[in-house]
Symmetry: C2
Subunit: 308 residues, 2 copies
């Protein structure tokens, strides 16, 4: 089934211990849609400027991604500049230029309004709500957010969250949103705000999925080389939502868990190279092989008899 | 089969956000042996002072722990004072008084020398080597260490490591020992120093087991209340080594993985109350139930068919 994403399509400039890149392809909707496109048809709502290279759009189309909802407006494309230290865990934002994103008001093409799976990328919670106003009867609405909105637009965010089924946040955001330091308490508090499921992303330590009855812990894939963590969270969400959207039946625990692992699989590829370089080249057999590696990484037998 | 531990038996004073405790039972050998005693017979090599309460020894004996190798010397018992902030991840050491531990020279009773499983708690690497000089043909030797020895007694530590089969370290120690920031590279570097297996403990994020062919990732149990992380690492090692020592056959991957999970199970109990309070009261059915919860926490199905 089809999957709608609203978010940024951007040009990123990155400084990492391994090198520097200027104006490479980036943006939450870009990483998300590319990752999800391995599993399901994806529709993008976003905006780019006059300077956005046509080649990037050609690439997204080559992945089967529907760009009817992506508009090109006068002005420059959204730009983000960030730096990573050796920790490679959190980016230091050096510069953000909203450009055409400043006046972005998401408009859904008619063909998008029946889409059953919706992902609201990390944009102003009022814009996220505008998207929800335009979809008819989504089966599942997921959202991402960040410290900037949690602090600066809390009321709007809480209002949007009432309409969200599943929230993706990192642990710092979960703490900030809930006011709880302990991650289990933070997750439970968020489950009282609207979402019936929350995914807490912990970077190199993996991710936790909470609902009212279960917790699922998924490690990150242990990589000996991490080049560029940019987009890892959106790639995770893309693999996760893409997997959900393949379901014929209910969104149940076995499916959600496969989605968590597939999110981790896709994110583990993204960070292996700069920008979307690794996602561009990855093949479905590699994805399946890494999923199998996650089972070998995590599975253990039932407890045998223990003698006292 | 029996399991030998050398380490500290101490009196700890703790400051946490939840309260303060003076001169409570602590020490690496104490946590380790109590934890391991649920699985296998344990022998302790350690020293206490004249002030060490007899009641603590009575408790350890009640767990079936062999204290023939624990001597009482003139002077005061080893004391540690630490403080935890809300993060509850790493203790700030406020004071360490070696006392009778200063002149500790481990002597193994004759009955200990045939012990097949040996755990060298976090003491000077030369003392760890002295213990190895006294055991005849151990089946498996595991060790713990810390930043103090990695920095201050590196040559002695590297010499001891050549005789160690399995090393327990936290991620900061792994980085310091190996000079590698990336945890996978750090583990591989340590696997070149002698141990054929290394366990990297990551506190609330769980633990990783590396050997030359496999990686196993085990999460920490998601607890909504953590009162006192003191002894979590030694409790983990006790559950781990206790599980190994129950084995009739080879120390293989399935067994090592069960040991990792059982270490995590036991550590998750320890941190729920101060000192050894939780380990004192925990019952075997609770241990088995939490092991089963770890399976529910981590397991997922094979990948179903994915449609493009």
């Amino acid at each position: 089934m089809s999957l709608l994403v609203v978010g940024s399509v951007a040009l990123d400039s990155l400084e990492t211990p391994f090198g520097q890149k200027e104006d490479v392809l980036g943006g939450s909707a870009t990483y998300f849609s590319t990752s999800a496109s391995f599993f399901t048809p994806v529709q993008v709502v976003a905006v780019v400027g006059e300077d956005f290279p046509e080649g990037h759009l050609t690439f997204l189309k080559s992945r089967g991604i529907d760009l009817e909802g992506l508009t090109r407006e006068p002005g420059r494309t959204f730009r983000w500049r960030g730096r990573y230290g050796w920790e490679l865990n959190e980016a230091q934002t050096l510069d953000t230029q909203l450009n055409v994103f400043q006046s972005f008001s998401p408009k859904l093409p008619e063909a998008y309004r029946d889409t059953p799976y919706v992902f609201l990328g990390n944009i102003h919670p009022e814009l996220q709500a505008q998207v929800l106003d335009q979809v008819k009867a989504p089966k599942l609405v997921a959202a991402d957010t960040m410290n900037f909105w949690i602090k600066g637009s809390r009321a709007a965010l809480l209002k949007t969250l009432e309409r969200v089924n599943l929230l993706f946040v990192n642990d710092a955001e979960a703490r900030q949103l809930s006011g709880e330091h302990n991650v289990v308490k933070a997750a439970r508090a968020i489950l009282g705000m609207g979402p019936s499921r929350v995914v807490i992303k912990r970077g190199e330590y993996g991710a936790l999925l909470f609902d009212h009855d279960h917790i699922f812990a998924c490690p990150a894939f242990p990589l000996s080389e991490v080049f560029d963590p940019t987009g890892a969270g959106d790639t995770f969400a893309g693999g996760f939502m893409g997997t959900l959207a393949t379901a014929r039946g209910a969104v149940d625990q076995p499916l959600l868990r496969r989605a968590m692992v597939m999110g981790s699989v896709m994110a583990s590829f993204t960070v292996e190279k700069f920008s979307l370089e690794r996602l561009r080249e990855v093949q479905r057999p590699e994805i399946h092989a890494r999923f199998a590696e996650f089972r070998r990484l995590t599975h253990f037998d039932d407890l045998g008899p223990i003698e006292a």
